[in-house]
């Protein structure tokens, strides 16, 4: 099992001089609103992926009164450290400075559950694609590199379309787009059936008639002819309209789009299921830690109990809450500092 054993945080949002030793099982971070509970989860996530799950910039993460922040994490085998000072970021794993994300990432994976997970279900298709990409990047080391490459080709190709520069130059970029895009598709096609299975199994355990489906705009084999066929639409919109960046993921309730036919409670539960799927898929490589930021606050008691039992044996759990009705190691925060531990 993989886990985080200890964290030290200073100058990250409102957190000051924090040192916490975690239990390998359930950990509760309690305190009033503004005590820094979510910030602590965000700090842990930052140590895993070097970014905020709330999409904050580095400047926003730095405490207003300090020049930067420092984070230290201790796993079973790894020590990691991030220092941000005066706008420069330095990153260490086991005492060695790492300059590429690729060389840092992988010491530990984690999944965050938060109230905003409902947006993945309810929001624009790009949010569901982001969810899928983030999941696949953690299941397949090549996926992140392929996706980055695909995105930079797409940007360049769209620039040509914007300038109405067609001809052999566009053809070269198209060929590369199809080459790399097909590899992105291969991974999506290969992995989605397992995502679907997990989603269905988890929905079943929660007694919900929910399903997830993948709607790719093309396939590795059809990408090239489909791209060609889209030429006139491309010229009209001056955008690449065929490719993995246009795929959609649908969530349905009894066969109907959940966004139109589901209740808010069902949408919330669907969001939580997406996170659980993430955890199960990542597990195939390495157990992720689960970071819970009050995700169950809007869910009825009955389903809360079901979720609790679902999560109970899933590995290390760190839960930020104002209402601590779980059993576990408790850390009380106040004003960005640890007030008490038991």
């Amino acid at each position: 099992m993989s886990r985080i054993n200890r964290i030290e945080v200073d100058g990250f949002r409102n957190l000051k001089g924090i040192e916490i030793d975690f239990d390998p099982g359930i950990n509760l971070i309690v305190g009033e609103n503004g005590a820094g509970k979510s910030n602590l989860l965000e700090a842990i996530y930052y140590l895993l992926y070097l970014r905020s799950y709330r999409n904050a910039t580095e400047a926003e993460l730095v405490n207003l009164e300090s020049e930067g922040f420092s984070l230290k994490g201790f796993g079973d085998e790894d020590r990691v450290e991030v220092r941000v000072r005066n706008g420069t970021k330095r990153v260490f794993r086991n005492g060695i400075e790492r300059h590429r994300f690729h060389d840092y990432y992988g010491w530990l994976d984690g999944v965050v559950f938060s109230l905003s997970d409902i947006l993945i279900v309810r929001g624009s298709p790009s949010l569901r694609r982001d969810w899928l990409n983030s999941l696949l990047a953690r299941c397949d080391a090549n996926y992140r590199l392929l996706l980055n490459e695909y995105r930079s080709i797409l940007k360049q190709r769209n620039q040509l379309l914007l300038q109405e520069r067609y001809g052999p130059e566009l053809e070269a970029w198209s060929e590369r787009l199809v080459e790399v895009g097909s590899k992105v598709y291969q991974i999506r096609y290969q992995t989605f059936p397992r995502i679907k299975e997990w989603f269905q199994a988890l929905a079943h355990q929660l007694n919900l008639p929910l399903e997830i489906s993948y709607h790719p705009v093309t396939s590795p084999e059809r990408f090239w002819p489909d791209l060609r066929r889209s030429a006139s639409r491309e010229r009209e919109l001056r955008l690449t309209v065929v490719g993995p960046h246009r795929d959609e993921i649908g969530i349905t309730k009894a066969g109907q789009d959940i966004r139109a036919y589901g209740s808010e409670g069902e949408e919330r539960l669907a969001g939580i299921i997406l996170r659980l799927v993430e955890a199960e898929m990542i597990k195939a490589r390495k157990d992720p830690i689960l970071l819970l930021d009050e995700p169950f606050i809007e869910i009825d008691k009955h389903n809360q109990e079901r979720l609790k039992s679902l999560l109970a044996n899933k590995g290390q759990l760190i839960l930020a809450t104002t209402t601590p009705d779980w059993q576990g190691k408790t850390v009380r925060l106040k004003g960005g500092r640890v007030e008490a531990t038991d």
Binding site: R100, L145, E149, S152, I153, K155, Q156, R157, Q159, L160, Q163, R165, P168, E169, E171, A172, W173, E175, R176, E179
Partner: protein
């Protein structure tokens, strides 16, 4: 501030990657070192600038026309290695095993930077293939999005001329430039090249 110092700092900022802060550091460094060191540097810059031109055949920097590589009869002139910049010839030459000649593109395709085929030395390469007998062109652009797209563009342009077009093997790690690779890695990449 002294006018001469101000002027030096301003001039130094034409160098790529040099902002005001670095320019100041460089200026004070230059003032601290012995005069003959500075004179040597200035002369080297002027000498290179006045005496080096682009080789009319391969577009590498050279004092003579053609350059020493294009003028070397012992080299295999039917084998051309296409690189992005003159800097990339150095590591290949240093590895000492490549016996062909070169062609420098002076960049790669990048629509975002406004660089298209007409901004690179591609027309000149096509002319070279038409005028002389070339069997094979090895495309050694970097494995970036732009380098790959340029390789594809070149393959599509050159193959109709009846020449074999190959690409360096991806022995090089993602994002690693030819510039940084060691001799053996470079040779493996050349030997393992595949036809496009």
């Amino acid at each position: 501030m002294e006018k001469s110092l101000e002027r030096l700092i301003e001039r130094l900022q034409i160098l790529p990657g040099v902002g005001r802060k670095t320019a100041q550091r460089l200026a004070f460094f230059l003032l601290r070192i012995p005069e003959e060191e500075v004179r040597g540097l200035v002369e080297a810059i002027l000498d290179a600038k006045t005496n080096l031109n682009l080789c009319e055949i391969c577009f590498n920097y050279t004092k003579r026309q053609p350059c020493s590589i294009c003028g070397d009869e012992d080299r295999d002139h039917s084998l051309i290695c296409v690189v992005e910049t003159p800097a990339e010839i150095l590591p290949i030459e240093r590895s000492g095993r490549y016996r062909g000649v070169y062609h420098v593109l002076h960049g790669v395709l990048s629509p975002m930077d406004g660089i298209g085929p007409e901004d690179l030395r591609i027309k000149e390469l096509v002319k070279r293939l038409k005028d002389t007998s070339v069997n094979e062109v090895i495309i050694a652009t970097n494995p970036t999005s732009e380098g790959e797209a340029t390789a594809i563009y070149l393959a599509r342009t050159l193959k109709p001329l009846g020449v074999k077009v190959t690409r360096l093997a991806r022995g090089l790690p993602m994002g690693a430039d030819l510039d940084l690779a060691d001799d053996q890695t470079i040779w493996n990449a050349i030997e393992g090249r595949r036809e496009l």
